[in-house]
Amino acid sequence: MIKGSYWDIDDILAEEEPIPVKTTKELKGLGFLDITNKPLDLPAESRFQAPLWLAAILQRTETDIELPKYFRTSYRASLEADPSIVSLKAQSQYFFEVGTKLTEIAEDDDLKQLLLKVLMKRIKFLIGYIENKSNPNILKRLTELEISIYEKGRKTMIELEDWRERKYEKIRTSYLYTRPMRKMRLK
């Protein structure tokens, strides 16, 4: 699946991350968007959390989009300091995807630069784990994008090792058959 395409389920889930928004005018018949709001109409100046995709559309109804906590100035400072220590996953599973989408919606060039810097530093740190046989515990601290990079990297390393030892012509049991078998044995 092409990343960011209509069919990409990661793209869909990234667009579900909540973003704070604030309405500037009364929106008739849209009270249901704000879960804490009871009446039928959405009053002006109401703040609530909307998924990213909805926030992008709400913008057309003159609604302001605010940056989530992890892209605000105070958190940016700690990102600048040392991105490899911060647990981005605790902020958002789709930190980078949400960030890139927000730079387009909110037209924030600084954020773009920051994301690039953070990603470069995190990848440098990740490659260390990929090359040396690492503990899978770090997966708990990675976002979806980083997990996919990590898994692809590990797979390539294993294939390279197999090739060096002339093991590539060995036929292996498909992972589709092995995984559930292992699970059954554990029971």
Partner: protein, 184 residues
């Protein structure tokens, strides 16, 4: 009402290693929601409430995208399964699929075989990309299968922990399915 059901549907795909069971109930709920949202959007347009109509129609589109992506993801996985392990659905997967998906798998499999035959009579398109070093491979049976007949070797009796020398092309499928183990 932020299309949470669709979000749940798509998230289900992430929770399982292969595919989660086909969620008929949730999909029919979503399609009902979509129908009612569409009606509301139309009546909003009649009232000239364009903001509300915009949001509601985009909710409909969002739900549509999620359900289509869900179905497409499952079909892609099925196609991969066919290429990876051959024309049979592994028994522990069959209750994850609904009837239409089973049909899709069978028809895809038939198409692939037709195509394979057109390209060349002796070539298996799902086989290895690298040329093998040996025609024969040494394999060990990991479970009792009993007597089976292979197209070139003839009859083999696969009992647990017995070692056989089989043609690579014949053994490959069985190894991928975990019946045999490739040794040496």
């Amino acid at each position: 009402m932020h299309a949470e059901k669709s979000k749940k549907l798509v998230r289900e795909l992430k929770t399982s290693k292969w595919l989660p069971p086909y969620n008929v109930a949730l999909i029919s709920e979503i399609s009902q929601d979509m129908a009612s949202l569409y009606e509301k959007a139309v009546s909003d347009l009649e009232d000239r409430n364009t903001d509300s109509a915009l949001i509601k129609s985009s909710l409909v589109n969002r739900n549509k995208r999620c359900v289509l992506a869900y179905l497409n993801y499952r079909l892609t996985k099925l196609e991969c399964l066919r290429l990876e392990t051959g024309p049979n659905i592994p028994p522990h997967f069959s209750n994850q699929l609904n009837k239409d998906e089973m049909d899709y798998f069978k028809q895809y499999s038939a198409l692939l075989q037709d195509y394979s035959r057109k390209v060349s009579k002796s070539l298996d398109l799902t086989g290895d990309l690298q040329p093998p070093k040996d025609v024969f491979v040494e394999v060990r049976a990991t479970e009792d299968v009993g007597d089976i007949v292979l197209p070139e070797t003839g009859q083999v009796s696969l009992e647990k922990n017995t070692v056989h020398l089989l043609r690579r092309s014949e053994a490959a499928g069985l190894i991928r399915q975990g019946v045999l183990q490739h040794i040496n």
